[in-house]
Subunit: 419 residues, 2 copies
C-alpha cells in the first residue's frame, strides 16, 4: 500500500504543460510561508480573542447564550420552576418570559463580525387563550430537557417531537419552542443535549477524543472521521497542522483526502458536504479556538459558496442567539474566487451562466454587513455579478483530476492568495 | 468519562411500567439466541453461497459484471481499442457494442433474489449522424478511465463531467455513458475508479483497513466512522459481532451509538442516512460476505422503509447490471413492522395517516417479486395498506428516549421476531 502511494507521487505527471505549474516553488518554500502565516494568525487570534459583547459599548443590550454543563441547565430549569410555583402560590398565575428571536431583534455587530440578538422579550402567560398552548408546550419541553439532564443522554429534535405528538402536533412547534427554551435558559441548544443529524467529516493532522475514544484523523483512510453530533463529548484536540482547510463539497474533499494533501502541507481538512450543519460549525469553531489555527475556505465561485462561508463565519439568522458559540471568526476566502476564473484560465465551457436568482442573491449579499466589511470580498462579488458567471470547484478538473491538489491549492498557498 | 457512562447504565430507568419491559429475559438468554442465529446463518450462507447465474438454467442469457483490478480494466480498454483500430484499418469504420440497460432488458431472478440484466445490446456506430455524438462521448470516457487506471486515483462523476464540459454538455450524458462503459467492459462502476459521494457511517464490533489504516469501529466515539467511498481500498475485516444491524436513519443510529448498544449485544451498526448510496451498499455486502453475519434491518414502517430494504436486498433498477456486486441477500426485516404498531401499543397520535401516494406505492410494492417471495412481508405490507397507517422508528420515543435500545430491540432479538 505504501509503495502504491509512493508510486503515485513519483510518477511523472501527465501535464507538465499545466497552467501555472511552472510557477510553483519547492514545497519547503511554501511550508515556510504557511508557518509564518500560522504563527501570525495564532498570535493575532490570542490577542484579539478577548473581544466579546461585554467589551463593547453598544447602544442596546444584547442577549447571548453560553455552553452550560448539564448540572447548570438542570439547576436553571429547577430555579425557573420554583419561580413559577412561587408566582402561582402568590395568586398571580404564571407566564414564561421568552426572548424574541425575530429579525427585528437581530443585529450585526461589525466589531464582533457576527449577528447577535437584542434583548426584546415577550410574555407567554398560561392563563390566556392565545398563548395557553405555547405555554404548555414550553412547560413540556422544559420537563423533557430536565429528563435528558438526569439521564445524561442526547436525542434529536425528531425524538423530542415524538415524545408528545398529541401536544406538539407538528415538529415545527416543538423545534421553535426548543430554541425559545435555549434562549430562556441562556444556554446553547447543544447544552440542552438536543443534537442535529451529523453530516460533516474530518481528515488530516488532528487527534481528538470522541466520547472517550482517541481518534487520529491521519489514520482514517480516505473516508475520514464522521464529525460527532454532540460537541460536549469532544475534547483533547491536538494538532501539528499549520491551517484548517474548510471545503464546501464532498468531491473536493475526497480528492484531497485520497491525495493525502495534509501530509504534503500539514493541515486539517473538514467539510459539511454542502450547507453547514450545527455539528460541523461547532467542531470547526472548537478546532479554531483550541488549536489557534487559521481557517482557509475552498468553496464554489457562486453566491451560495460565499453564503456558506458567511454561515460558518457570522452565523445564520435563525440561530443568532447562539452566534458566539456557533461562529468561527476570521475565515479567509481562499478560492475558488470569481477572479480565479480568468487568472487560472478556466475554459468558457466550464463556467456556468448565473440564473436570475443567482444574480439577485449575489446583489443582496453585496448589501450584507458581513461582506461589506471586507473590501476584497466586495470586489470579488461585484466581479461575479458583473460577469454573470459562476463555477464549481470541480471546474478545475478540466486541467486534470489532480490539478486542485497538485497545482491550484499549492500555488494559492505559496502566493498567500486569500482574502 | 467511563464513570459517566456507568452511571447512565445503572441508574434506575424512569419507566419501570414501560410496555413489555417485564417480558425481557436476562441478556445472557438473548445472547444465546443470537449466537444460535448467527451460527445457523453463517452455515446456511456458506452452503447457499455458491448459487450464481452460472448455476441456473435460465431461458435467456444474462449479463453480469465483476469487480476487476485496475490492470484488467486497463487491458480491457486497450483490447477494445485494438479491435477498433483493426476495424478502421479494415475499412469498416467502427461501432461500440453497448449493452442495453433499459427496463425491457431487466429481469428479476427469484432463485438469486435480485434483478439482472439480459443480454440485449445495440450498436453505436461512429459514422452515423444519430449516434456520432454518443460514440464520441463513449471514446472520451474510455480514454479518461484509462488515465485513472494509469494514475491509480479515484474521482467522482462530477470530476469526470468537468474534464470535457464542451463535449458532454451536461452531466446526465457523461453519467449514462459511464454506466454503458462499465457494462461494455464487464466490470462494476467502482472498478472504473469513479465513486459516489460517501454518506454512510458505521460503528460497533468491526475492525477493517481503509486505504492501509486500521480502523477499530468500537473506538469511534458516538460519531462513528465514515464509510469510505472506494470499496477497493477496504479490507481485512474482522469482527466478533453476532449480527449486522442496518438502520434506515440517523436518529436511530445515534441513539444506538450513544447507548453503545453493540457492547450489550455484539453487533455492527450501519446506516446510509436515508436512501442507500453505492458506497454503503458495497460496504454492507462486503461485511456480509467476509464476516458471514446475518443482517437485520430497522426501517420506518412505511412503503419507503421497505423500498430501502429492497434496494439493499435486490438492487435498484438503474444499476441492475451490477446487482450481483451491490446487493446483500437475505436481509431480515426486524422492524418497525406494521404489526408492531398494535403489538407495541404505539399511541394513535404517533402514527401518521398514509397519503394517497403512500398507499399507491404500497400497493405497487405488493406486486414486486422481491416482496411476493416472502409471505411474511406480503402480510405486513397488506396490513399497512389496509390500516392506512405508517410510523417512523422515532415513534418509539413516545415510551421514552431509550425505549428503542432498552426494550424494543432486545425484545425483538429475544423473540427472534424478524421476517
Amino acid at each position: 500500500m505504501a509503495d502504491n502511494r509512493k508510486r503515485r507521487r513519483t510518477e511523472p505527471s501527465v501535464g507538465e504543460e499545466l497552467p501555472f505549474k511552472n510557477k510553483l516553488k519547492p514545497d519547503s518554500v511554501i511550508l515556510q510561508i504557511l508557518k509564518d502565516f500560522s504563527a501570525s494568525s495564532s498570535s493575532s487570534s490570542s490577542s484579539s480573542k478577548t473581544l466579546t459583547l461585554q467589551d463593547l459599548t453598544l447602544p442596546f443590550t444584547c442577549r447571548e447564550v453560553a455552553d452550560l454543563s448539564l448540572a447548570s441547565v438542570r439547576s436553571n430549569i429547577e430555579s425557573l420552576n420554583l419561580r413559577i410555583a412561587h408566582s402561582i402560590l402568590s395568586g398571580l398565575g404564571f407566564s414564561f418570559d421568552v426572548p424574541s428571536r425575530s429579525a427585528a431583534n437581530q443585529h450585526y455587530v461589525a466589531e464582533l463580525d457576527r449577528i447577535v440578538l437584542k434583548d426584546k422579550s415577550s410574555l407567554r402567560p398560561f392563563a390566556n387563550i392565545s398563548t395557553v398552548r405555547k405555554a404548555t408546550i414550553t412547560a413540556r419541553i422544559l420537563e423533557l430537557i430536565h429528563q435528558l439532564c438526569l439521564k445524561g443522554i442526547h436525542v434529536t429534535k425528531r425524538d423530542l417531537f415524538y415524545t408528545d405528538v398529541k401536544l406538539f402536533q407538528d415538529q415545527l412547534q416543538s423545534d421553535a419552542v426548543l430554541d425559545d427554551v435555549a434562549c430562556m435558559l441562556s444556554c446553547t441548544r447543544s447544552s440542552l443535549n438536543v443534537v442535529a443529524a451529523e453530516k460533516g467529516v474530518v481528515v488530516g493532522r488532528l487527534v481528538f477524543s470522541d466520547d472517550g475514544d482517541m481518534i487520529d484523523c491521519t489514520k482514517m483512510g480516505m473516508g475520514g472521521k464522521a464529525i460527532p453530533p454532540n460537541i460536549d463529548r469532544v475534547g483533547d484536540m491536538q494538532s501539528d497542522a499549520l491551517f484548517i482547510l474548510l471545503v464546501e463539497k464532498d468531491a473536493a474533499y475526497m480528492r484531497l483526502a485520497e491525495d493525502r494533501f495534509y501530509n504534503r502541507f500539514p493541515c486539517i481538512i473538514v467539510t459539511a458536504k454542502g450547507q453547514p450543519d450545527v455539528a460541523t460549525r461547532l467542531f470547526l469553531r472548537k478546532m479554531k479556538t483550541d488549536l489557534k489555527l487559521p481557517v482557509l475556505a475552498l468553496v464554489d465561485s457562486d453566491p451560495y459558496g460565499l453564503k456558506i462561508l458567511s454561515v460558518y463565519g457570522c452565523g445564520s439568522k435563525n440561530m443568532s442567539y447562539d452566534s458566539s458559540n456557533l461562529t468561527t471568526p476570521d475565515i479567509k476566502w481562499l478560492g475558488v474566487r470569481p477572479s480565479d476564473l480568468d487568472k487560472y484560465k478556466i475554459p468558457e465551457q466550464c463556467r456556468l451562466p448565473m440564473t436570475e436568482q443567482d444574480i439577485k442573491t449575489g446583489k443582496d449579499m453585496l448589501e450584507e454587513d458581513f461582506v461589506k466589511k471586507n473590501p476584497g470580498w466586495v470586489e470579488e462579488l461585484s466581479l461575479m455579478v458583473k460577469t454573470k458567471q459562476k463555477a464549481e470547484i470541480q471546474a478545475l478538473s478540466t486541467f486534470g483530476f489532480q490539478y486542485l491538489s497538485e497545482v491550484y491549492l499549492p500555488l494559492k498557498l505559496q502566493q498567500k492568495d486569500w482574502l
